[in-house]
């Protein structure tokens, strides 16, 4: 049924919304395409798993602990990897993020092995809401992502930090001169990105599995979603993610499900050829 497909698509879009938002945020404030975003999702998910699985913590607590560790890790990595490269070209930072992604993902693979794992949650029967079949994972995803998005939006719109991020994204030199500490803003961006990546890693793990490939598999859709939104517009990336989710789901009417990646690639190629500034980007006043 069409409505079911669209609903499924929206939920799977929500899975990529947070990493896409992180990608767009990093691109707009730190000015580079972060190819380690997939690795951040994988690492975050595995950190949570470490608490939930072997240590047996209940999932919410494990998520909190995993997020905290993930944030600390990203701040450390920024200090070790990106701080020495501050001021270098976007391509250099991009390649550095590729290297970082390789290291992170393979360290996870080394420690955890390739076998897929799952989180300790009770199996529940799908519910029926408004004639749609909604399973437990979808419900959790809906609630968690929407809450996370609302929090992020509040930060952007109403806090000093949010204004500072927008200022640095808009004009870094002017932000300096207005007393904004680029270091603090950079740290805040990484912390937000790591937290969101971890949360989406958990949701992906609930939806399918926790394995070292998971984030890598999402690289293409996450980038496509961010590009759909206009890669410099964090909130628009969410709209891009939802649109991509629905598109991928509807595409299963025509193509077999294993070609999901191809659909994302096709959407990306079309966008870059026809409308590289994205569909939803808020009007970015260029010089």
């Amino acid at each position: 049924m069409l409505a079911q497909l669209i609903f499924n698509g929206l939920v799977s879009g929500l899975l990529i919304a947070l990493p896409a938002l992180s990608l767009a945020l990093i691109f707009s404030v730190l000015r580079f395409a972060n190819y380690a975003i997939g690795a951040m999702v994988t690492t975050g998910a595995h950190l949570v798993y470490a608490f939930n699985g072997p240590l047996g913590w209940p999932l919410p607590l494990a998520v909190a602990a995993g997020m905290a560790l993930s944030v600390a890790l990203s701040l450390l990595l920024d200090r070790l990897v990106f701080a020495p490269l501050r001021g270098r070209s976007g391509v250099t930072l991009l390649v550095a993020s590729i290297g970082l992604g390789l290291v992170l993902e393979n360290l996870v693979r080394l420690v955890a092995g390739n076998a897929p794992r799952g989180f300790g949650v009770e199996i529940a029967r799908p519910a029926r809401l408004l004639g749609l079949r909604v399973n437990q994972e979808q419900l959790i995803t809906l609630v968690c992502v929407l809450v996370a998005l609302a929090l992020v939006w509040l930060v952007f719109r109403f806090t000093r930090l949010g204004r500072a991020m927008q200022a640095v994204a808009d004009n870094p030199d002017l932000a300096d001169v207005r007393g904004i500490s680029r270091k603090k803003v950079t740290a805040a961006v990484w912390a937000l990105a790591a937290a969101m990546a971890t949360l989406s890693g958990v949701l992906i793990g609930l939806d399918s599995n926790v394995d070292p490939q998971m984030g890598w598999n999402y690289l293409l859709p996450v980038f496509t979603a961010a590009i759909l939104g206009g890669i410099g517009s964090p909130m628009a990336a969410v709209a891009g993610a939802l649109l991509l989710g629905v598109t991928e789901e509807l595409a299963t009417l025509l193509l077999p499900p294993h070609y999901r990646t191809v659909v994302a690639f096709g959407v990306m190629a079309l966008l870059l050829l026809l409308r590289p500034q994205g569909l939803f980007g808020a009007k970015w006043v260029r010089k």
Binding site: L174, V177, R178, G179, V285
Partner: protein
């Protein structure tokens, strides 16, 4: 309230090339100094050294007797250095109100009430931008953007205001209005440091003048003297 700025034999530039070759100057508290000179004389570099956007290769920057050469731009802003850049002087994608808020919130203390008071004071200086408070700053005209930029710099009650070619791109009417505001600000005791392309306007707007040519100080005197000095042209080596 007012601050004193001094530069000691500053050598600065980009990469290996030095643009400023040993520039020394001082601006007394409550006074105003304008730096004039032909294109390429190093005025912009001088401004970047003063605001902390570049570090000098040698020499010192001294604020109220304290060596701030190693202090970065946000640090200097917190000391009370307000800067109005010439270009890219507003956050184009943020509203005028957000621009003004941002001018205040990372430098001054005092919470919402202090912000409100300063906002009222600044908007009183620039009534033209009041109807545009919720408009993205990038959509304003050049003159209005200049006002927002100056307003944002004034929000945290700076002790020294640094102006980068304030008349650039403005019509003669708007330029003279802007300098009126500059005068009013100076009368509140804020030290003024300006660089200006338009020699006459600049010298008319400040007590003291300094002529910078090819990265070196060629003359330093009260503005009236420099204006009356027929040799100004030759100091510029024929350029004006």
């Amino acid at each position: 309230m007012s601050a004193e700025l001094r530069l000691d034999s500053v050598v600065a530039g980009y990469g290996a090339r030095a643009v400023l070759h040993g520039v020394s100057l001082d601006v007394a508290p409550r006074s105003s100094l304008v730096v004039v000179g032909p294109n390429g004389s190093g005025k912009s570099t001088l401004m970047r050294v003063v605001t902390g956007l570049i570090r000098p290769q040698s020499g010192r920057v001294i604020w109220d007797g304290r060596d701030i050469t190693a202090l970065d731009a946000p640090g200097r802003a917190r000391l009370g250095l307000g800067y109005v850049p010439q270009e890219a002087n507003v956050f184009r994608n943020l509203s005028v109100l957000d621009n003004l808020k941002l001018g205040h919130e990372f430098i001054a203390s005092g919470g919402a009430r202090a912000l409100r008071e300063r906002l009222d004071a600044v908007l009183a200086l620039f009534p033209e931008i009041v109807p545009k408070l919720n408009v993205a700053a990038g959509l304003l005209s050049g003159g209005q953007r200049q006002m927002v930029a100056m307003g944002a710099a004034l929000m945290p009650s700076p002790r020294l205001l640094a102006l980068d070619e304030p008349s650039a791109g403005l019509s003669p009417l708007n330029a003279s209005r802007l300098f009126d505001v500059v005068q009013r600000v100076a009368h509140t005791g804020v030290t003024l440091f300006m660089i200006e392309q338009n020699t006459r306007l600049g010298l008319a707007a400040a007590d003291q003048g300094l002529v910078l040519v090819a990265g070196q100080v060629r003359a330093r005197a009260p503005s009236q003297e420099l204006l009356a000095n027929g040799q100004l042209q030759s100091l510029y080596l024929g350029a004006h």
